[in-house]
Symmetry: C2
Subunit: 306 residues, 2 copies
């Protein structure tokens, strides 16, 4: 393979909304720059934790164009472009490639359940063929706990065989290390880039041939997570890994997306950052206070974690 | 309540695709007219079995406009307009109301799982407020086996209390008669219109205060299903009900959407009708033959079932 490899710590950048629930490109770009300056190799914008599936195609395109216009290097962007509708996936993917994005992170179509690998293969194949651009680097997004439609190992094998220059890697958000290990065993040796879906598996992923992680909590703890990535071969890697896993453990006691936004809102003293779009609901005042207290006890400070 | 009541047999009209996977408005309109002339009170276009979630917002709007332009009365249309993204749901709902549609059938946002009734209430409430049109008649779409996000009885109660002139009914596709019965017990007395999600429960639904059914198989068996609706108080209703349930039993041995399209393709000798969009896959030749043989044995003839 001659693909440029990505790797590192990527954040599914959270998407800020104004009080009227419209997406806020300015806060979005500020958060994006902060992430890139504080340990993130890149941004998997429009992921699950970005509330991407609560955004229209036009809203996603507007936000992505704004990021690039504000000077965020497209080489550091891997936007989510997988939708239920083939035509939407094609449109978003072509748009991202046209902007020069490093890759796209693609959910399978997730409305119909129990679909076959043949049907999923056709979906990804149609997107690749219709986009028809050699620059496309497609990362598969496996997140069965949410999408309920997963990416099997035989499907990866079939896609890699047919599109070896395009199908570049996977984000495994199964939460099941055995699955990540099986994907690594099957494909990492050929250059297929396996990102853990959470920093909880970052060190294990690196030790088994993976390339990094794409994790929700990288939105608020990028520097510490990056330190594990940079130092995974060092003797103290396990201790650093334990620390980032502990911080994640605190955050994920709460609904993840509202919690991440509450942390940013508190850190920036900017209450509007806590807005989420329905069907999500912001944290209650009690949840906000207990999350803050727990993070303080953990020694966590936004942007200055040690 | 002073709402105009709908009721009867409504078909989630299947959506034809050309060989290039583009939606075909002409075949769509022909099928729509055939359904309306053969027993359907109306069309719940863009339902689950319409592959609506495989269509972009623009594709749905184009098809709906085409139907109306071709003379399909909007009073007989209840398009699906519930999407993952609030802004898409608002856009489709406003469009349907603007065309004069009798109602809309609204999925909850279905990407994020385990969301709260508060979050779902906010979603429906935002759609209703943003559309801001007294003509809107909203039918809730409860289909947890597919959407994985359902509509609870407390949520219905809260929506009805807040929007008594707008929240008009529900399609219950839970497949669980106990749930339909509980919804009927709680709300049918106030004029809330409960459609069974399949003709299997049509007679039971009518006997308990429901208003009809919205069923996939109404795409191919509308006349016989309509006969049960018209004659549900008659002595021979149980026999007619058994017959339509038996026909459905044959069809649902196969993947439903490809099977419906295969039946129409065969009935019209129009192979292109069998096309489905990924992630769905058309029936194999063997499946097509065995489905046809089973339906023939059942005495089923498209448009002429007895």
């Amino acid at each position: 393979m001659t693909l440029k490899r990505l790797g590192g710590v990527w954040a599914p950048a959270i998407t800020p909304f104004r009080h009227d629930l419209s997406p806020d490109p300015e806060r979005f770009a500020r958060h994006a720059r902060w992430l890139l300056e504080n340990g993130c190799s890149g941004l998997a914008a429009f992921g699950t934790n970005s509330e991407a599936n609560s955004l229209s195609v036009e809203e996603r395109m507007m936000l992505l164009e704004y990021l690039v216009a504000q000077g965020v290097a497209p080489e550091r962007l891997m936007p989510g472009t997988g939708c239920c509708a083939l035509t939407d996936s094609v449109r978003l993917t072509a748009h991202a490639v046209g902007l020069g994005c490093a890759g796209v992170l693609m959910l399978p179509p997730f409305y119909y359940k129990g679909v076959s690998d043949e049907g999923l293969f056709r979906n990804f194949s149609e997107v690749i063929e219709r986009v028809g651009d050699a620059r496309l680097r497609l990362y598969l997004y496996h997140i069965p706990p949410v999408a309920q439609v997963g990416i099997s190992i035989p499907l990866i094998a079939r896609l890699l065989k047919r599109y070896p220059q395009t199908v570049a890697g996977i984000k495994d958000s199964s939460g099941d290390w055995n699955n990540t290990a099986a994907v690594l065993d099957a494909f990492a040796g050929t250059g297929f880039e396996v990102f853990a879906g959470s920093e909880v598996f970052l060190l294990a992923n690196m030790r088994h041939g993976g390339v990094g992680c794409i994790s929700a909590t990288a939105n608020v703890n990028p520097a510490a997570i990056h330190r594990v990535f940079e130092n995974w071969r060092e003797a103290d890697a396990d201790g650093m890994q334990e620390k980032i896993a502990a911080t994640r453990g605190v955050v994920q006691k709460y609904p993840m997306i509202p919690a991440l936004k509450a942390i940013v809102a508190r850190g920036l003293a900017d209450a509007e950052w806590a807005m989420v779009r329905p069907p999500l609901v912001e944290l209650s005042a009690g949840q906000r206070e207990s999350l803050a207290a727990e993070l303080d006890a953990d020694g966590f400070r936004l942007g200055l974690t040690s």
